[in-house]
């Protein structure tokens, strides 16, 4: 482990994570909303937003899957030092991190059980760009319709069809996050 892994966490963890979580709560409650999330400086190729999500939600109780280029020593060391989260295979993770091609296929992740639909993975998808517009969304958290630039709408429609089971998605790019819970209909 190099000393680089020791830096890049929240300056004041209780306050940094409180502010980051409010952004997360807001985007998960209002699909289509894009919010800034700040305070993390993770090693490449992680975006600052993805770093802040990991710092806010991950700890030794949450196995993390690192997809593709994200599975490298610098990232593992940083994650281990700041969160203590174990790195595991896709089938056992609570959180998965990577670009959309690295995370596919979605069938590898836990979608919960009928008794406990909350026991499902949350995918943190690193996006090349995150701006308003794109595919139309409808459902809980949305007044009429909203939109997000989803990488593969058909995959999200298939995920919605599993409701109340299914995966939940957090999209990250630079300092921005957005989210798509399983409850939302992708038109």
């Amino acid at each position: 482990m190099t000393t680089a892994a020791l830096t890049g966490g929240f300056e004041t963890p209780p306050l940094g994570s409180a502010l980051a979580f409010r952004a997360l709560l807001d985007v998960m409650a209002r699909p289509g909303t894009i919010r800034r999330i700040e305070g993390a400086a993770p090693p490449a190729p992680l975006s600052r937003a993805a770093g802040a999500v990991l710092l806010t939600l991950c700890d030794p109780e949450t196995p993390v899957f690192l997809g593709g280029a994200h599975d490298r020593a610098e990232v593992r060391d940083w994650l281990a030092f700041h969160t203590g989260a174990p790195v595991v295979g896709a089938g056992h993770c609570a959180f998965a991190l990577g670009t959309w091609p690295d995370l596919a296929p979605l069938s590898r992740y836990a979608v919960g059980t009928p008794d406990y639909p909350d026991r499902s993975a949350t995918l943190i998808v690193e996006m090349p760009a995150l701006a308003a517009g794109g595919v139309t969304l409808r459902g809980p958290g949305i007044r009429d319709t909203a939109s997000l630039p989803l990488p593969d709408p058909a995959a999200f429609r298939a995920n919605r069809a599993l409701f109340p089971l299914g995966l939940d998605f957090i999209f990250t790019c630079g300092d921005d996050i957005a989210a798509l819970p399983r409850s939302v209909e992708v038109l």
Binding site: P14, A18, M28, P114, D115, P140, I142, S183
Partner: protein
């Protein structure tokens, strides 16, 4: 630490970071499956069960130093429960507090939804005693989980039907069961059924915390919430048929207050902030001083 007046004796908002992360993960899953009760490892809080330990843990996990917190107990800002929880967060999170609904960003509530319409920049946190709407019909958790999974809610309709058979109408007046987005049946906590219509299409985020029962559930903004009923016995949001004795309001939920031992009584708004604001604007009821 910049810009806060937090007491250094406590971590921000009392709970340790590991606990907050666990609760925050549960809150995100609860938002993703509206109306589903997510189990969480509820902690001992420095107050007894039944005093809002679930609500306090949810509030502690969503608060930021910039928030302005309002706490109500059956609509009132000045009861012991509301005052002590407000002071708890003043001391442990250093947040500003208020009694005005319009000024609050986070509102923790026991058994009421404020009369003032909520906005999209507000979060309403409910204290929940029994989160499982089917619990008094089926005591086994393993069975109620299955019933939710299969959407087997016939028993709940039988209960409401028995109300009609016995009383001629649905006599359930609080904790009136609702169906969320056509899927999960949810206990809205013991709010009067007068408040049920406000649950649906609400612009604010609604979070529910049950400390003793270790459950968290949620309604994202603009979620469709329908009170269960029958075609020939439609749901009715009832209130006492009186104007408020203090502010004269005819559209608010009223508390009945016994004033002597000779049958004297008055009806006053349960929402103290709403009633005070109306009186400040010059509205007067028949008993106003």
């Amino acid at each position: 630490m910049t810009g806060t007046v937090q007491q250094a004796d406590y971590n921000f908002a009392y709970l340790d970071e590991q606990t907050k992360r666990m609760i925050r993960r549960a809150l995100l899953k609860a938002l993703a499956v509206p109306g589903y009760q997510v189990p969480f490892a509820s902690r001992e809080m420095p107050m007894p069960y039944g005093w809002g330990t679930g609500g306090v843990q949810v509030t502690a996990s969503v608060l930021t130093p910039q928030d302005r917190l309002k706490v109500i107990d059956q609509g009132a800002d000045d009861t012991t429960n509301a005052v002590s929880i407000r002071r708890f967060f003043e001391a442990t999170a250093g947040v500003a507090t208020t009694t005005r609904t319009a000024e609050a960003t986070v509102i923790q509530t026991r058994h009421r939804i404020p009369e003032t319409p909520l906005r999209d920049d507000q979060i309403l946190v409910y204290q929940v005693p029994i989160p499982e709407p089917l619990r008094f019909l089926e005591p086994r958790e393993s069975e109620t989980r299955k019933m939710h999974a299969l959407q087997e809610y016939g028993l709940m309709h039988v209960k409401l039907y028995e109300d009609i058979a016995r009383h001629g109408h649905i006599a359930t007046s609080y904790a009136y069961p609702v169906k969320v987005e056509g899927h999960y049946v949810m206990d809205p906590s013991p709010i009067p059924k007068f408040d049920n219509p406000k649950l649906s299409d609400c612009p604010a985020i609604q979070l529910f915390g049950a400390g003793r029962e270790q459950r968290i559930y949620a309604l994202p903004p603009h979620t469709k919430v329908v009170s269960l009923d029958f075609e020939d016995h439609p749901f009715e949001a009832s209130r006492a048929d009186h104007p408020c004795s203090l502010c004269g309001a005819t559209d608010t939920y009223l508390d009945e207050v016994i004033t002597d031992d000779a049958g004297g009584r008055m009806f006053i708004c349960s929402d103290t902030d709403h009633c005070e604001a109306r009186r400040a604007r010059g509205h007067r009821g028949k008993d106003a001083a």
